[in-house]
């Protein structure tokens, strides 16, 4: 069992500071469309970033175990939020992963890394809304 602890303090208006032991302070705000600041991370972006980064770190860990060398990894992710009868709700999160592997690696096997990561990533597994992942593999 592992515990992840954060703390938060409200500063003024729609802004606050998130803290976690040993990490840099993190200024947060409401999204600009709800009265917040566009130069600060907001909870919606943080949720998308946590899914996106968990997917990558899980994939890297699977690659290591399978002894597949990753040359480069990048991704883009989007979260869609809609107004529903119950209030604002995330309807889906999408991620597009660009993976670079050695010429000798089967691209299908590289894509499979991401599919396994999707299955094991604890953050995306904590979500109710669907996660759609597309993968692009480059060899060099």
């Amino acid at each position: 069992m592992w515990t992840y602890e954060t703390s938060l303090v409200w500063n003024a208006d729609e802004t606050g500071t998130e803290r976690a032991l040993g990490r840099p302070d993190w200024a947060i705000s409401s999204p600009p469309e709800f009265g917040g600041k566009s130069d600060k991370w907001n909870p919606e972006l943080m949720l998308v970033a946590s899914v996106e980064s968990c997917l990558m770190l899980t994939a890297l860990s699977v690659a290591k175990r399978q002894k597949i060398e990753i040359k480069a990894y990048s991704s883009r992710a989007t979260g869609q939020m809609a107004k529903t009868a119950d209030g604002l709700r995330f309807t889906e999160i999408r991620a597009h992963v660009i993976l670079e592997v050695d010429l000798g690696v089967d691209p299908a096997r590289a894509e499979q890394l991401i599919r396994i990561a999707e299955k094991y990533c604890p953050v995306s597994n904590a979500l109710k809304c669907p996660l759609h992942v597309t993968v692009e593999v480059h060899t060099r």
Copy 2:
């Protein structure tokens, strides 16, 4: 409908950089217990922070609408992750909120702000695992 977009690039080992347009870059890593760095935010902490900050910003917005003046707001939050047959899974997230309001405000009404925020916070509503929130109200 609103879209929240992030991007991620892998740096080396178990670290990467999360980006969102106009916001500061955000260095991320696996948790130290899975081979990452203890001085960087990890996806598990980011998930907890996104729930915690969404709860606060939703509560502040409800307070504004109800014309209840908040003097101070802070919280602590924890996410529990356990090893299950399906891999690592979040089992629950807990938040403890400390709210300070004017002497004239009914503490029960102040607590109610948080209960309403729980109901409407889009991030906690995106989660499968239960969120338990306790509230402490101080008047001054």
